[in-house]
């Protein structure tokens, strides 16, 4: 299940965000939304998960003849 972990430092008000469970560029949508609301981040670093590609494996069907 996709999850976004937010941390807010109450001594500064600074917000940190970590997107998990969304491989590939799909997590860019979440990052884009956050940038719309917060502005450009001071730091932005894609995690290893970001570089994973989503693969769809075709299913093979077997038919048995009677």
């Amino acid at each position: 299940m996709p999850e976004i972990d937010f941390s807010i430092d109450t001594t500064t008000g600074e917000l940190r965000m970590h997107v998990q469970g969304i491989p590939g560029h799909a997590c860019d949508d979440v990052a884009k939304l956050a940038k719309q609301l917060l502005g450009q981040p001071a730091h932005e670093q894609p995690t290893a998960e970001y570089h994973l590609q989503t693969h769809v494996r075709p299913q093979a069907r077997t038919q048995t003849r009677r």
Partner: protein
């Protein structure tokens, strides 16, 4: 007399979330317009102007108006030196940034149709949004 200070590094991108954050920390009544004049605690008009203003009547007897100037990058606060030192125990801007950050999290949660679990760890608010 206290002078006004502008904080260009403290930026609030979204007007609606800024208003919600102000409400959260106890300032629900604001004036909005273009280049509204700011007044000091004695009713003296200052040279500064802002687009969102919390009037001193809604802050405290010794306070000056608080303002936010709209810029292409977002809203920038203008706070008097006196209020920066005294308002909310001198934590006005930090409390506002924290409240704004919480509003951002709630907005993201709404847009992704997620659920949020919030907890406090020391001085850090941790919020997990699942969807």
């Amino acid at each position: 007399m206290s002078k006004y200070l502008t904080f260009p590094d403290v930026l609030f991108k979204d007007r609606r979330l800024l208003l919600a954050a102000l409400t959260d920390i106890g300032f629900p009544i604001v004036e909005e317009g273009r280049e509204l004049p700011l007044y000091g605690y004695q009713g003296d008009r200052r040279s500064e102007a802002a687009d969102i203003v919390v009037r001193r009547q809604h802050i405290g007897r010794a306070s000056n108006d608080l303002g936010f100037v709209r810029t292409p990058d977002g809203y920038v606060p203008i706070v008097s030196e006196f209020d920066r030192r005294t308002l909310l125990g001198g934590d006005f801007l930090v409390r506002l940034r924290t409240a704004y950050s919480e509003q951002v999290v709630q907005e993201v949660r709404r847009r992704v149709h997620g659920t949020a679990i919030r907890r406090l760890e020391g001085q850090t608010i941790k919020i997990a949004v699942r969807y």
